[in-house]
């Protein structure tokens, strides 16, 4: 009898020891990571598994040491990217990073054109958007399924063939000027937008990117609903049709050019609010949501460094670092929590409408054609075709 008790005691102690050792491991986290956790008020053991997560084939580490600068094209602001990179740089000081901001799809196109002319101008590229299919056709992307943390991403947030991985969740809802509108005024469902007079008379602004939000709604609520909704939106509500970028619209919103704007991204709206602007965020149901893609160019010279980076990026630490950088909600399946979503009360718990790549192929052309008509008649003139 006592022997069994002893066994249980030992097992208990071992278990306890392991817990304690976990905390001990927490003490060996990079400084920047610790600061991050403190800032977000997250418990240390959120990163309990990090060392396992970051285990990679030895060849990658050795290979990365011999490579040059890792080139990354991303859409973040450089200072924000700096913040995000800090833990990576602490862990892998032998991988220097060259970062360029690459906003706009034509940048993706030019990278592809260069690739076809045998020039690989970057190792990691993000924000592929619609040009993904061209990349696939040109066989320009690496298969990333061999990256350990690839599996951290939920289904639907990675390419089945491993050519792209989702970096973060992205919600496209409404931002509004808190001086002009109150939370109570905001529509619970999208249909409510059509009936509230507060959004008429040009108080509402619409940006020219229907694929960010209307596409997901079309899929979720069906074609007849979508067509009807959009038609009424343009003809009855008569919003201001703005050609500026979505982020620029936020700036104008803060300045008072209009009272609300659609679509607005959660991370950017949050940043503006933190700056002190009278801006807040609201999501009618269903909530349009998508993932942003990241890929590695095939034949990238710094392939090992790239794999190291992507692996780290998809780990819990990387995803948290991203959130600290620019408030982009993680895509990691274990990090779906309120603390890591800006305006969580707006988003968490609501029904969402997910935009998956299949949707893009079949519905997008129809949506764009329909939208263009409305935009044109609404006085916005052709979108650019």
């Amino acid at each position: 009898m006592t022997q069994r008790k002893c066994l249980f005691l030992i097992l208990f102690l071992l278990w306890a020891r392991v817990s304690i050792v976990d905390d001990g491991w927490a003490a060996s986290l990079p400084k920047s990571t610790e600061e991050m956790l403190k800032k977000l008020k997250l418990e240390a053991n959120i990163l309990s598994n990090i060392d396992k997560e970051l285990e990679v084939p030895k060849g990658w580490l050795e290979g990365a040491k011999g490579e040059g600068k890792l080139r990354i094209y991303h859409t973040m602001d450089p200072p924000q990217a700096e913040v995000m990179f800090r833990p990576f740089k602490e862990r892998f000081p032998f991988v220097p990073i060259e970062y360029s901001r690459a906003s706009h799809e034509d940048r993706a196109v030019r990278t592809l054109v260069a690739f076809k002319n045998k020039r690989i101008v970057t190792d990691i590229i993000t924000g592929l958007g619609g040009s993904f299919f061209l990349y696939k056709e040109a066989k320009a992307l690496e298969d990333m399924r061999n990256i350990p943390n690839f599996k951290n991403n939920p289904e639907g947030t990675v390419d089945p063939e491993g050519l792209w991985v989702g970096m973060h969740m992205r919600y496209w809802c409404m931002a509004y000027n808190t001086r002009r509108l109150k939370r109570e005024d905001m529509p619970k469902r999208w249909d409510d937008l059509l009936t509230n007079v507060k959004f008429r008379n040009g108080n509402l602004a619409i940006g020219n990117r229907p694929q960010l939000w209307a596409l997901a709604l079309w899929k979720a609520n069906g074609e007849p609903w979508a067509k009807d909704f959009l038609a009424k939106l343009f003809t009855e509500v008569k919003p201001q049709l703005r050609r500026e970028g979505m982020n620029a619209n936020l700036e104008l919103l803060a300045a008072g050019e209009f009272d609300a704007t659609i679509p607005a991204a959660e991370y950017r709206s949050y940043q503006k609010a933190l700056d002190g602007a009278p801006v807040s965020y609201h999501c009618p149901e269903p909530v349009p949501v998508a993932v942003s893609e990241m890929g590695i160019l095939k034949g990238a010279p710094n392939i090992n460094a790239a794999r190291l980076f992507v692996n780290w990026f998809l780990s819990t630490e990387g995803q948290i670092a991203q959130y600290v950088g620019d408030y982009a909600p993680p895509v990691h399946k274990n990090l779906q929590r309120k603390e890591l979503v800006p305006f969580a009360d707006q988003i968490v718990g609501k029904k969402d409408a997910f935009r998956d790549p299949g949707v893009e192929l079949e519905i997008q052309p129809k949506l764009l054609a329909y939208w263009d008509e409305l935009w044109l008649r609404g006085g916005g003139k052709t979108r650019g075709r």
């Binding site: 080139r71 094209y73 602001d77 450089p78 200072p79 700096e82 060259e98 970062y99 360029s100 901001r101 906003s103 706009h104 799809e105 034509d106 196109v109 030019r110 592809l112 054109v113 260069a114 076809k116 002319n117 045998k118 020039r119 101008v121 970057t122 958007g129 619609g130 040009s131 061209l134 020219n208 990117r209 694929q211 201001q240 049709l241 703005r242 050609r243 500026e244 970028g245 982020n247 620029a248 700036e251 104008l252 803060a254 300045a255 008072g256 050019e257 503006k272 700056d275 002190g276 602007a277 801006v279 893009e360 997008q364 764009l368 044109l376 003139k381 052709t382 979108r383 650019g384 075709r385």
Partner: protein, 573 residues
């Protein structure tokens, strides 16, 4: 130039160089317009077709474009040139007291990046948040905001203001070289000053004036920053913004082929306008008496009209420089854009400037910009000078053609040139140009060649042939003559063109955006554009303020020195 067999070789060399530099993007423009392939580089014979043309020219929207564009371009050119003529005339032909202000101040308008100016005016005259509107409404108790800057009128006004400096720079030498005897003859025949101006002076100036107007018309046609910022929200499209929109399409693929097809209109216009421009210029030369003995054109005494004239000058400077500048300075201290109020002032911060100092990107962009701009300006001066020498002073068979070739790129929008060069540099990958600041420098040099050659042509014509011949008979071979006679006499023109190119290369974003590949060739204009696009208006205002200050200082110094030197020297020989 003394013509013998050897000089002909370098003439042909220059001709060939310019031919290549100008024709290559044009060929791409034409070929690309037939390409139905998705990507600009995927050009092959079986993807050729007329479909781009069909799509673009059967779209009724395109024809609306024509009307808008016509009104916008015509209106802004008229407004801008009228203002420029008035200012140039006040400086050169009257006894206006504040000449230095005009002389130095007018070119300074070039220092402000286009979209920043537009943005400043949005903050002033937007129907919803415009400061001036609010103030006027308060003052007069109006219900609706009186001025809407998002209109054709707004676009015309602002673009007109922006056309003034270059037109001014081209008109001043024209005014200066008028023979006073022609006007004096009218005076003694009994004509009053206003009548003289109308019947004699303006008529003599007319061909030169028309030439300048054609030139600025082409400028107005191709810039897209003003119509982009002010026109797009109002849904007013003009050609340049339409092409930009096609290239930056919000759909998944920019359709480059269609952009090129639309841009063919520009090519057509380039040919037509170049033809008329050349005719105007040659007529203008006949009317301009090159005063070998340097008679100073007589100065009109303004008398009591002095005060309104001075007010006009300062009004222009205020609207074109001071007001927008004040707006960005204000905006650069904000966290987010808001109209001026007690709260706004309380919330002012140095954050944006601090960010700039910390931003590694800014430092790199600055270095790249300085390098690129210096190289471009120098190359433009050098190449324009050589081209002008051939055009004005040699008997080379192709010199008229060369002159026209140098002029054509002015008509092609920067974006289109950018796409063309992007493709070209990719293809010639044995030369390490792709993705570097050299790519932008080359692209810009070709674009600015038109201004450089206009300026150098006019200046070279002023140098009497005998000054050159005297050097030859004194024993100086051609290259020594160049060094000892031409260069010193052309120095003011060189400096003028150099500064002009610097001011333009620093702030134009269209072409660099197409050639931008990463931190190694990111320049300030791209940085500003990206940040503006991302909505970081206060940060953009901060960069814009610093940029403007630097450029203003540079311009002021150069103009001051040039101005003094000009008045110290005896009349030009």
């Amino acid at each position: 130039m003394w013509v013998a067999s050897r000089p002909l070789v370098w003439h042909s060399g220059i001709f060939l160089l310019v031919l290549v530099l100008v024709l290559v993007p044009l060929i791409f423009l034409v070929l690309g317009s037939f390409s139905t392939a998705r990507l600009p580089g995927d050009f092959s014979l079986d993807t050729m077709g007329w479909i781009n043309y069909v799509k673009v020219y059967t779209d009724p929207g395109t024809y609306e474009l024509f009307t808008n564009t016509l009104v916008y371009v015509g209106g802004s050119s008229l407004f801008g040139i009228s203002l420029a003529v008035t200012l140039a005339w006040l400086v050169e032909r009257t006894n206006l007291p504040v000449k230095l202000w005009i002389y130095a101040g007018v070119p300074m308008t070039l220092a402000a990046p286009g979209m920043l100016q537009a943005m400043a005016w949005v903050l002033l005259l937007s129907p919803r948040i415009g400061l001036i509107n609010k103030w006027l409404q308060d003052l007069f108790g109006l219900e609706h905001p009186p001025i809407n800057v998002y209109s054709l009128g707004g676009m015309i006004f602002l673009e007109g203001l922006r056309l003034v400096p270059t037109a001014f720079l081209m008109l001043v030498p024209l005014m200066r070289s008028m023979d006073p005897a022609l006007e004096e003859a009218a005076a003694v025949s009994g004509a009053r000053p206003l009548s003289i101006i109308r019947k004699i002076s303006l008529r003599l100036l007319a061909p030169g004036l028309v030439a300048v107007m054609i030139y600025q018309l082409m400028t107005a046609l191709e810039v897209f920053e003003i119509p982009g910022v002010l026109g797009l929200p109002a849904g007013i499209y003009v050609f340049s913004t339409k092409i930009y929109a096609i290239v930056r399409s919000a759909t998944f693929m920019p359709v480059y082929g269609q952009a090129n097809a639309l841009a063919m209109v520009y090519l057509l216009m380039a040919v037509v306008t170049t033809y008329f421009y050349a005719r105007m210029i040659s007529r203008s030369e006949k009317y301009t008496i090159i005063t070998g003995k340097g008679y100073r054109p007589r100065q009109l005494n303004l008398g009591k009209w002095r005060y309104p004239a001075v007010i006009l000058v300062f009004l222009y400077l205020f609207l074109a420089i001071l007001l927008p500048f004040a707006v960005f300075v204000y905006a650069s201290f904000l966290s987010y854009v808001q109209t001026p109020s007690l709260e706004a002032f309380k919330g002012m911060t140095l954050k944006n400037y601090r960010l700039l100092a910390e931003y590694g990107e800014v430092g790199a962009a600055l270095k790249n910009t300085i390098l690129m701009v210096a190289v471009t300006a120098t190359a433009t001066v050098f190449l324009s000078f050589l081209v002008s020498l051939v055009v004005v002073r040699s008997k080379f068979w192709g010199r008229k053609l060369l002159d026209q070739l140098a002029f054509v790129p002015h008509a092609i929008p920067g974006i289109v040139m950018g796409i063309a060069f992007f493709w070209v540099f990719l293809k010639i990958d044995f030369l390490p140009i792709y993705g570097t600041v050299w790519a932008m420098a080359i692209g810009f040099t070709v674009s600015f060649l038109s201004y450089g050659t206009r300026s150098m042509n006019a200046s070279l014509l002023q140098i009497h042939k005998e000054l050159e011949e005297a050097a030859y008979v004194s024993g100086a071979p051609p290259w020594r003559t160049l060094w000892r006679v031409f260069l010193p006499l052309m120095l003011p023109t060189f400096v003028g063109v150099w500064i002009w190119v610097v001011l333009h290369a620093v702030r134009i974003a269209g072409m660099p955006l197409m050639l931008y590949e990463g931190p190694q060739n990111q320049v300030l204009s791209i940085l500003i554009w990206n940040m503006w696009d991302e909505g970081y208006v206060p940060a953009v205002a901060a960069i814009g303020t610093l940029l403007m200050l630097t450029l203003l200082l540079l311009t002021l110094v150069v103009r001051y020195v040039g101005f003094r030197q000009q008045f110290m020297q005896a009349p030009n020989v």
